[in-house]
Structure formats: structure tokens, C-alpha cells
Symmetry: C2
């Protein structure tokens, strides 16, 4: 298949929330307490909520910035491409990249909305969480029908409220929610508790997929503060491995056969090893551990329940038949540092060299459409308007020049000659020192 | 290649230390303080040293036991095959399994000898550590020339002493030492410290390989005590991933080009994904993280320095060219629960279906011989005496009947219907309660 003929749906991108996002979705009684943008004493834009600051981490909004200016330091709206936070500019950035549709995880409340669970006043948290979802579904996604797969955040402090929110957003046409690798992190019972059953049931009833983005509740322990920062970055997808193991061996998937999950940004090259490993462990140990998968193997259960997701993964695509070509979806990860924007079609095409047209279509868009009950073709007026070539034709005036010198402060220390885990922690601490106080 | 013609060298097995191991290697002044076998109040054999008990964990000596009787509870010598601790019986168990040679990690002092580093009296610890190595090299390995690749433990509390021990054991012909994923665990500086340079240099000088066995200093955090025990077992090899990332991005490998390591029991199916991932992270981030691999990629550095190791890994073997067929070695893991004993040749042959004879030979024995400077053919009187068929012909009288009812106490709780992380922790705690006091 020629690059121009491909149709790309990305099941993992990110929105940097615009500063006015709460204005139209919070009632007057709560409006003064909504998160707001302030500048810290270094001049960075930060979200302020309940007296605390939340940075926009720079490495998460670097699309279009020169690689030597990447960094973990917080940044400001004027240092980002407008497509990070302006939905109309986002569409133009998608068009220039040949991307038909996108699922957008959040930024300042964390990918899965942990901020709301960390908020003391839970009544306030619920108001803001619902406002967030209303903004995301009714404003961001609705602005351009057929271009966004909606994704809701959940009130992660109360399973009953989570059930209510799943049903509420499903009524608005949202069939995906951001979940996390390990609910213990937010003080909820582990996934092994039966307390979760009403939530699993609601997700099955409403055909809602649990999207578990890497780094939501798990990060690898770097062996030492002086470890290169690459040690952390490389290992983050491994959280998906541990999360999937725990789910596969739990009773959850066997008791809720319709439950569906996505391992967002988890990568796929490790999946065949993982499948061999869970079957090996089961075959050798189930007689004493008393696990019982009936006539199935753990890998059968995994393949039925999980969508696997990748950005650029040559080995994973080579092993696509071991994974299952109906269980792989592509990701763009705009505007994070792993994104292949604005040459995503070229990168994906190289990954898929030698694959049949059927495999290309499944992996580039059909699996995402099926898994998320998403039909962009109707909204777009037909499939031919959805191809890489058709979208790029609409975006000839998009400015792709690099945003030089607009951010990317050098790591403050790098005393060892390279950036360490400790260096980036210091960057964040510096940004948060002397709490912000003036409205931006 | 026919199974009978294969030659098998395993770079990962385990010895359960025999009760008399210290008798001939500790001077009279220290003999009373050497570790000794006692029985706890449940009748299990335990090592007692400096007032503390160390169990022989059952799941680590299960070869020949029925799978429904596996378990984590400590066990006794009379519950194990004699081949676990009797070197002459070990040779017979190797013969019946067609295995020419074996590298044996320790048991009660941990795979890498952490027990010695945890001992308060460091003079005593050094005496016992050296006695351990002398027993291992001069007694266990020397009993049957050509059948064991010696592997020393190190005084992990003092880098200077580690250098001395590397040079001492190398003089005895030992070219492998057990290292650990993360020296911070035993209170040493991280591998990024220049304090390690004399040790790296000694290993290069003496052609000594650092063997980093999974579980030496890293275990995955189970998400909850009620997680199935499979969650822990499945994830342990992932420690090799994190350890390798840290080493690859450190200055160590670039500054010590002759340093060689083995990722013992790490598995290999994940390696191609890992190689893609480290190259991707480097390519996208090195301009701001200031990492500099010259004209190389991180994967080039990995391939030069690491031997990868597997027990049974169909995907890894399928991807052998991505890993490098001169960087893969096979493991038997006798007598642990992952062992393929006594049908290892059949299991390995199935993994290698379709591989060329050259690849079979490299992976089954030639890579191990080269990496560890080990020549069993001379000691055995020629290559033809080393094949699966030749060895099995000597072992027709080995009893392969299962050791039924000789161990494998049921997990004490399993209240959820299956064995959890918490259940096996309780088993161990029960074994250690009421410290032992009567000599066995």
C-alpha cells in the first residue's frame, strides 16, 4: 500500500488543557475554585488548584521543538505549538501528519485524572472531574466530528461514583475511560477485590474500554539518582507488562468475558515473549497454585481482552501474527517526545513494510474503530476523505518550522556530563519552589 | 540436527549446598562459627549462621517432585533429589538429561552471596565467603573435570576486597562471578560511581564474566498481597531489562570495552524489543540528555558486552538473528521449578526447530565455551563423548520416579481459592518462627 492511501487513527495522543477549559462547564457556585493558570516566579505557566501547583511538564509538549531543547522543565503556552491546546490548530497538525482521528489523554490532572483523587474536598473534585469530561467530550471532541475518540477520566476515589461516571459519559457517546495500572496507588482496593465487580459490569454493559496508559500508576525505580535519565524513560512501558500479568491471572477477566482494555503506549515488541511466559508459568505451576483457566491458556485470555498499542515498533510488527493482527493499534503520541509527528505516515509505513493491505488497514485504523465503536467515515463524508493524501492536501499552509529558543532550559546540573534522574527531579523542584501567586 | 547429536552446556543451574561443605575449607579458629544445618521446630532443615536462620526454599529444589507438590515452603535434604546437593548424583542427573556441563549458582547465601554482605562481622564473612568459593571450585567443580563452569561469589561489601577475590579465584581457573542487578541494595555505590573502576578493570584483566542472575537484587512489586503468586513469578526476569538499561547508558561499558556480562535466567524473547527501545530513546533524546555513543548505537554496545540466556523461549529463538546468534546461551535451571530436566534436550530441540546446525551448536554450547573460557572436550577425551546420546548411555540406571509425598506442604491459606503473594510470604514466616536450636 502506498503511504498516501493509508488511513491513520491514533489511540494515544495528549491534550494540553487550554486555560479557559473550565469556564463553560462549572456552575457559578464553584467557578472561583476551578483550576486556573498562574505564572510561577520563573515565569512558567502552571495550573493552580486548591493551593497547589501542577506543572505542564515540558517533555510532554515538545512536538515541533528542536531535540536539543527538550527537557523535563515546566513550560508555557507560548513555548508550545498551538496544536497542543487549540483544537482547531490540533486538527491542522493532524492533517499535516495525515492523521484522521485521535484519542487524547489529559495532561495536568495526570493521564488518568489522579489529581481529582488527590483532592481533599471530594465534592469539589467530582464537580471539576465532570466539568473536565464535559469539556473533553462536548467541546474538544465535538468541535470536529469524526476526528476524536472521546476518553473520560474517572473519580478514582470511589467505585460507586466511577460506575455512575461510566454510565454518564457513555450516554454522551464516550466509550473509553482512562484507568491505571494499579488502583492501590490511589487508595482503592486492588483489582482482586469483588468491590470492583459493579465497575467491571458497567464497563461491559456500556461497551466502555479501560485505557491504561503507561506511567499512570507505575514507574520503574531508577537504580540510583545518578542514573542516566534514559534509564527511566526506557523502562516506563514495562508497567504494562506487570499490569497485564496481574489482570490475566486475576478472576476479573474470566468473570467478565466482555471486559476490554487497551495497553496505551505499552509497546508491542515484548508481547510475544509475555504470552510465552504467562503460558509457561501457568503450565508449570497451576497444579500447586490452583489457578484454573479451564481448557484455555492465559494467552487466550489476554488476546480476547486486550488491545495492544505502539508508536514505532519494528519487532512487534514483525511478530504481528504472534500477537494477533486484530489486537494491535497504532499511536502518534502527539505532542509528547516519542511522537513521530509530522512524519508519522512515513514511520508507520516503514514499520509495516511487507505487510498485506489487510494487515495495514487493521493496524492503522480498523482495529481502533472496532475496539472503540468509532465510525469516522460517516462523519467525514466517506472513506476517501480520510486518507493520508486527502488530509495532507488540506494542510499545505501549516508552518512546520521548529520553535527554536522558545523553551528547553538546559538541565540545571548535568554535573556528570549527562542528564541524570536527579537532574530532572531538581528541575521539577525548582519550578515548584516559591508557590505561584499571580494570575497569568 | 538429531537430538542425540546435540551437545548441551547450561549456564544456569543451582547447587543446594551440602551440610558438610565448610568442614574442609574453614580454619580451626573459625570452624565453630561456620554456617551449620539445624532443624526448625517443624522439622525442616535450615542453615543457621550468626544466630539467624536461612531456609532452603522448596520451589528452588523441586526437580523430580510432582507439580502439585511444588511450593515456597522450606524443605529438607530428604525431600530433594540427591543430585541437588551430591555432586556425583548431580553428574548422573546431568547425564540422564544429556547435559555435558553446568554453571551452578548458590542457594542459601543467595544467588550472589548477599548473605555475606548482610553479616555484621565482616572478618568472619570474608572467611566464610572464601571457604564457600574454595568448596565450590576445588571440591564441587573439581570432582568431575569438564562438567562444571566455576562461578565465585564476591565480598559485596567492599570493592577492594571484590577485586582481590576476582584475582584470587581467577588464579584457580574461575572466570565467572555472581554479580547483582543493583549494588545499592547491599549498600555499595551505584554502578555509575568511579569507585567501581578497579573492579571493572580486574574483571577485564582476568577475563572474568559478571553473571547477573534474576532475583539477585530486584523483584517486581506485586500490586497487592492478594495478587496471584504468578504475578511475581512471571515478572522476575524483567529485572534484567532494568539492569541492562542502566549499564548500557552508563559510562562503564564504554570505558571498559573488554567487560563481559551474562543476564542469567533473564530470557531472550524481550531482547529485540529492548534493543529497538534503547536505540529509539537514544536517537530521540541524546541531544538534550548529552549521551554520546560516538558513531555507535546503544544496541551495538549491548551486543558487544552481554551474553543473553534462556531456558525455553520460542519467540527469542525465532528472533535469534536480531539478538545475535553468538550472544545466546542455553540454561537448564536444575533443580528449580523452571527446569526442563530430565527432558531438556527434547525441549531445546523443539525451540531450535529449523535452525541451522551452526546456530544449534552456537546456542547449545559453543557460545558458553567461548564466553567462559571453558573447554570440556579436552577433559572428556573428545567431542564425541559429550553428546546427548553419549551421556545418556551412561545413565540408564538413574531413577526418574517422582518423589511423591516427600514435601510440598499445601499453601497454608489460599483463602481466595488460589495461591497469592501473601500466602507464600506466610509460608516463609511460619518456617522461620521460633528460631531453630537443635543441630540436625
Amino acid at each position: 500500500m502506498h503511504i498516501d492511501e493509508m488511513i491513520l487513527i491514533s489511540v494515544d495522543d495528549h491534550v494540553v488543557e487550554p486555560r479557559d477549559m473550565f469556564e463553560r462547564h462549572v456552575s457559578a457556585a464553584y467557578r472561583d475554585r476551578a483550576p486556573r493558570i498562574v505564572k510561577n516566579r520563573h515565569g512558567d505557566d502552571m495550573w493552580q488548584f486548591e493551593g497547589q501547583l501542577r506543572p505542564n511538564v515540558g517533555l510532554n509538549a515538545v512536538a515541533g521543538r528542536p531535540p536539543e531543547e527538550y527537557g523535563y522543565e515546566p513550560t508555557g503556552y507560548d513555548q508550545m505549538r498551538r496544536g497542543c491546546f487549540d483544537v482547531h490548530e490540533r486538527i491542522r497538525d493532524m492533517n499535516v501528519n495525515g492523521v484522521l482521528a485521535s484519542m487524547c489523554f489529559g495532561s495536568f490532572p495526570s493521564f488518568c485524572g489522579r489529581l481529582w483523587a488527590m483532592t481533599q474536598d471530594k465534592e469539589l473534585a467530582l464537580v471539576m472531574l465532570r466539568a473536565y469530561n464535559d469539556w473533553h467530550i462536548d467541546e474538544w471532541c465535538a468541535a470536529h466530528p469524526g476526528r476524536f475518540i472521546p476518553l473520560a477520566q474517572l473519580p478514582l476515589w470511589d467505585i460507586g461514583l466511577m460506575v455512575d461516571e461510566v454510565r454518564r459519559v457513555a450516554k454522551k457517546g464516550c466509550h473509553a475511560v482512562a484507568f491505571l495500572e494499579n488502583p492501590l496507588i490511589v487508595g482503592l482496593p486492588s483489582i482482586h477485590s469483588e468491590a470492583w465487580d459493579p465497575f467491571w459490569r458497567a464497563c461491559c454493559d456500556e461497551r466502555v474500554v479501560l485505557c491504561i496508559h503507561i506511567g499512570s500508576a507505575w514507574s520503574p525505580s531508577p537504580p540510583a539518582p545518578e542514573s542516566p535519565v534514559e534509564t527511566i524513560m526506557t523502562g516506563v512501558p514495562i508497567g504494562s507488562f506487570h499490569c497485564a500479568v496481574d489482570l490475566v491471572f486475576s478472576r476479573v477477566l474470566r468473570n467478565f468475558p466482555d471486559l476490554r482494555l487497551a495497553l496505551s503506549e505499552g509497546g508491542i515488541g515484548w508481547i510475544p515473549y509475555f504470552l510465552d511466559r504467562i503460558d509457561w508459568i501457568y503450565a508449570r505451576h497451576h497444579r500447586w497454585t490452583r489457578q484454573d483457566f479451564g481448557g484455555e491458556r492465559p494467552s487466550d485470555v489476554f488476546r480476547r481482552h486486550f488491545l495492544t498499542c505502539f508508536i514505532d515498533d519494528p519487532v512487534g510488527i514483525k511478530l504481528r501474527n504472534e500477537i494477533g493482527t486484530d489486537r494491535i493499534a497504532w499511536e502518534c503520541d502527539y505532542p509528547h517526545s516519542d511522537t513521530t509527528w509530522p512524519t508519522a505516515p512515513e514511520a508507520l509505513h516503514a514499520n509495516l513494510a511487507g505487510a498485506s493491505d489487510d494487515d495495514v488497514n487493521r493496524i492503522s485504523h480498523l482495529n481502533a474503530m472496532r475496539w472503540f465503536d468509532f465510525d469516522p467515515f460517516s462523519a467525514m463524508g466517506g472513506r476517501t476523505r480520510c486518507t493520508v493524501a486527502a488530509l495532507r492536501a488540506q494542510a499545505k499552509d501549516v508552518d512546520l518550522s521548529l520553535l527554536r529558543g522558545k523553551g528547553g532550559k538546559a538541565p540545571v546540573d548535568a554535573a556528570q556530563g549527562f542528564v541524570t534522574a536527579s537532574d530532572v527531579m531538581k528541575q521539577l523542584a525548582t519550578a515548584l519552589d516559591g508557590q505561584a501567586n499571580r494570575p497569568a
